[in-house]
């Protein structure tokens, strides 16, 4: 029965089956797990904290699950050269906390950063609110020690971030466990900004908040973060964090600015003005660190807070051009309303990275079909608007059936060749990412493959 706990991650995917779960503590132990699995023709699936939202860690057909949670040591911090070597099981926020007092931090900050592991961040090339200015995980991985799918251990990249020859480090980051298992990661550390200001703007219409986002960027300001939460999200999280969000606003825009004090002050003024021009009813600047922390805690708790409305969620992840935010959001609400479902929108507006959170009660008959249909429609609308399938959650099991919407057959063949260059036998997290090869036998809740799907 307990193996069932490893049959799923944070996604809607059900029906995964783990054959055996290993808890290696060293690189050698990971390599041994992989070698033994491969020698027996068994697939292996790496797993961090199991907070993934695309089913990347869901085991298909009894594979060896390699849980890296016990590889949670911070091996080395070099403050002068601004890097740290960490185990893949180190929790994202633990690293930044560990760096308190050094004036440095690890920039990628996914909403699940208090739980998710850096190994998982590497596998999914994770983003986060502050990746607007700092870039996503790939920009923060200098080198990575990898157990390849044949058990060999290699180091890709180096501490200076120089790639000699092809940038295999770049190829590995975002590989979702199909190219091997990261066992030690050398991450870039960023300097803490001398000054930070966090603004909270309330709007009577979601499209006004979206228009403000475009206007801010068009004005030449790239804030540290630009996030939108709609009213349902605000109502769900406010009782948990007491951040003082304007609960009567249709949308709340969080803008974080950092840099030198004079520059930040000027930008606060400028954004306040842009906000008012676009109909912001309220503009508030966080008075202190505590208020700032509450604002962010609320934003980052959104997906976990939905049980106050419904007990299940399907969190989608697509990217669209920032200039089309208002238009696409309107369509998202429409698609969901048509299917008699509830959507909560909370997203990285600055990146155009949408996170429609469809909430439902899985025990209601037939609801899952409607949820998946709406999800599929949202993906289609996003891609048609010139966007992409996934911003940061990865493709995993959830999105592989949509890969043909984004890529031609030739593109997919090329990607498959890259994968085979790392994993000749197709045993590294098979049935994920590419719509080729193995399917995930028992998995449910993902609907049928759309017609015309590239197989």
């Amino acid at each position: 029965m307990a193996l069932g706990l490893y049959s799923r991650d944070g996604s809607v995917t059900r029906g995964g089956r783990a054959g055996v779960v290993c808890f290696p503590e060293t690189t050698d132990e990971v390599a041994a797990c992989v070698r033994i699995a491969v020698a027996h023709g068994r697939a292996f699936v790496p797993r961090g904290a199991g907070t993934g939202l695309a089913g990347g860690a869901v085991p298909c057909d009894d594979p060896v699950v390699v849980a890296t949670t016990r590889m949670d040591r911070i091996h080395e911090v070099d403050v002068e050269r601004r890097f740290a070597w960490v185990g893949p099981g180190v929790v994202n926020l633990d690293l930044t906390r560990h760096l308190t007092g050094t004036g440095l931090h690890f920039a990628p900050d996914p909403s699940s950063q208090q739980s998710c592991t850096i190994g998982g961040n590497v596998a999914n090339n994770s983003g986060g609110p502050h990746c607007l200015q700092d870039g996503v995980t790939s920009a923060h991985v200098l080198a990575v020690e990898v157990v390849l799918p044949d058990g060999e251990v290699v180091v890709l990249g180096d501490e200076e971030g120089r790639a000699v020859g092809y940038d295999l480090r770049g190829a590995f980051v975002g590989g979702e466990g199909t190219l091997g298992i990261a066992t030690r990661i050398c991450v870039r550390l960023c300097e803490d900004p001398p000054e930070v200001a966090t603004l909270l703007l309330g709007f009577a219409r979601v499209e006004d908040a979206a228009a403000t986002v475009s206007a801010v960027i068009a004005d030449g300001i790239v804030p540290a973060a630009l996030e939108i939460m709609d009213q349902r999200v605000v109502e769900a999280v406010e009782p948990f964090v007491h951040a003082g969000y304007p609960t009567d606003a249709a949308a709340v825009l969080i803008v974080e600015l950092d840099g030198l004090p004079a520059g930040v002050a000027a930008e606060v003024e400028r954004i306040t003005a842009i906000g008012h021009d676009h109909g912001a009813g309220t503009v508030r600047v966080a008075a202190d660190e505590d208020e700032r922390a509450r604002i962010w805690k609320g934003r980052k708790s959104a997906f976990g807070a939905i049980a106050v409305i419904k007990p299940d969620y399907y969190l989608n992840d697509t990217v669209i051009p920032r200039t089309r935010l208002a238009e696409v959001l309107a369509k998202v609400y429409e698609v969901v309303d048509e299917r008699d479902l509830i959507v909560m929108n909370v997203f990285h507006a600055g990146d155009g990275n949408l996170h429609p959170l469809i909430v439902y009660d899985a025990r209601e008959p037939g609801v899952m079909e409607r949820v998946l249909e709406a999800g599929e429609e949202i993906v289609r609308i996003s891609v048609e608007a010139g966007g992409v399938l996934s911003g940061e959650h990865g493709i995993g099991l959830e999105k592989k059936r949509f890969m043909h919407l984004q890529f031609t057959d030739a593109d997919l063949v090329a990607q498959d060749r890259l994968r085979r260059a790392f994993d000749l036998h197709g045993l590294a997290n098979p049935a994920k990412v590419l719509p080729t090869g193995a399917s995930c036998g028992h998995v449910t809740s993902l609907g049928r493959p759309p017609e015309g799907m590239w197989v």
Binding site: A2, G10, F23, T100, G304, A307, D312
Partner: protein, 431 residues
């Protein structure tokens, strides 16, 4: 509004069990997941296992029971949960349902039974204290290293036991069972501080006895209810009930749910953690303000010799932080008398958990190691005292060798406040 119960053998709160969205935000706040990295030792995993039994008809096996048995019950996950999953209710419901077939080990049951006789606890403890001094007992985290040979004053059962206004005191201090035997100085500290602030206090004494928290924790809910009924009956009236043990305080505040009677709910509403009550009381605040360096004669000198303000690292017992949510008051009281340093572990449980350290020594030890590492980080090599408002935590932590070697003493926050009050001469006032 009551929620329907689940159809399975555990009979849990159905809405509560459904409320978990399995997002995993609880994981880092669970001490047993933190030290094992294993879903089976996580709140999310335990809830999934409860669901398997309640919703899918799975039959609990040894692994299932072990997953439930290894929960400390710290409720760190409840504080962390954005969806307000009532994990505490789910795990105690589960424990109660399986208690009949998973009875705690005999030595624990006997130990818990003994708590019904505070006088016996004191005499037995004194005997153990003698054995300890003879070096005949191996040191563990279960008992204090040196149980005092002079027990508390509660044996006089209220009569003349308190200073202030004696049995007619304005407030009643709940003296419990083992604390009176093992840490009598804590009750004395509370009485001294209240006394100096001009507040009369009566000790609840042996007639009231044990709160039953450990019994409930071990799944012996019927025993816990019997204790609760006795306590409620023995403490009739409307005076505030102050509690200086976080674990007992959480239990007393929870009597309304445990007994489900109006009388119990009315009693629970009178219960206050001692820090919570003092931080909100103008007289205590006035007393402490008079000690702060910014006002009045410089309190940091004693007979012309400067007395350094102690540097205090605060450890939040889970029963204060997660169960009662009044850990902020500890800081309010300590700030005027000490330099307070915070731990960087967001209140992660130390692994003491009442009898947990006895039943799950491996996980409890690993959780303590994490806590101790956080204490050393906060201490940065300076001379510090660790403040803990729960006897279980302080005993568990005090047994750590590296803290002892670093000279880090573990004391109750009220003792530190009392030190300052006594130093200033206020503590000598007697009613």
């Amino acid at each position: 509004m009551t929620s329907p119960t689940t159809p399975g053998p555990l009979g849990l709160d159905d809405h509560g069990l459904a409320a978990c969205v399995q997002c995993g935000l609880c994981l880092p706040h669970c001490p047993t997941y933190r030290v094992t990295g294993d879903e089976r030792r996580s709140p999310r995993g335990r809830i999934a296992l409860m669901r398997a039994v309640e919703w899918e008809g799975a039959v609990p096996d040894d692994e299932w029971h072990e997953a439930m048995d290894t929960c400390v019950g710290c409720l760190g996950c409840e504080t962390a949960c954005p969806s307000a999953v009532p994990y505490g209710r789910l795990i105690s419901g589960t424990r109660e349902a399986v208690a009949a077939e998973r009875r705690p080990p005999l030595h624990l049951r006997v130990g818990l039974r003994l708590l019904s006789w505070p006088g016996l606890v004191r005499w037995g403890s004194r005997a153990i204290g003698v054995v300890q001094r003879l070096g005949l007992l191996r040191r563990t985290g279960v008992l204090p290293a040196r149980i005092p040979l002079r027990a508390g004053r509660s044996r006089t059962d209220g009569k003349g036991a308190s200073r202030g206004d004696g049995a007619t005191g304005e407030v009643v201090l709940f003296t419990g069972c083992v604390m009176d035997a093992w840490q009598p100085e804590v009750h004395t500290a509370v009485v001294d501080v209240l006394d100096a602030a001009g507040i009369g206090v009566e000790r609840s004494g042996d007639r009231v006895g044990c709160c039953g928290a450990l019994h409930e924790h071990a799944g012996l809910v019927d025993d816990a209810r019997a204790h609760a009924r006795r306590v409620v009956a023995a403490m009739a009236g409307d005076r505030p009930v102050l509690v200086d043990s976080a674990g007992c305080g959480a239990a007393l505040k929870h009597y309304g749910d445990l007994l489900g009677t109006d009388e119990a709910r009315a009693f629970a509403a009178r219960v206050h953690d001692v820090h919570e009550w003092c931080a909100a009381d103008g007289r205590v605040q006035g007393l402490l303000a008079g000690l702060a360096p910014s006002s009045g004669p410089d309190p940091s000198t004693e007979g012309g010799v400067p007395v350094a303000r102690p540097t205090v690292v605060v450890q939040d017992p889970c029963h204060l932080r997660h169960a009662q949510g009044c850990h902020g008051s500890v800081r309010t009281l300590l700030a005027p008398v000490a330099d307070v340093r915070e731990l960087d572990d967001e209140g992660l449980c130390c692994g003491a958990g009442g009898a947990y350290q006895l039943l799950q020594p491996e996980i409890a030890g690993a959780a303590r190691d994490r806590k101790v590492a956080a204490v050393h980080r906060a201490a940065r090599g300076d001379e510090v005292t660790l403040a803990s408002a729960n006897p279980g935590c302080s005993t568990h932590l005090a047994a750590d060798r590296s803290l002892a070697e670093a000279g880090v003493g573990v004391r109750h926050p009220m003792e530190l406040v009392a030190d300052a009050v006594r130093r200033s001469g206020n503590g000598t006032r007697r009613a």
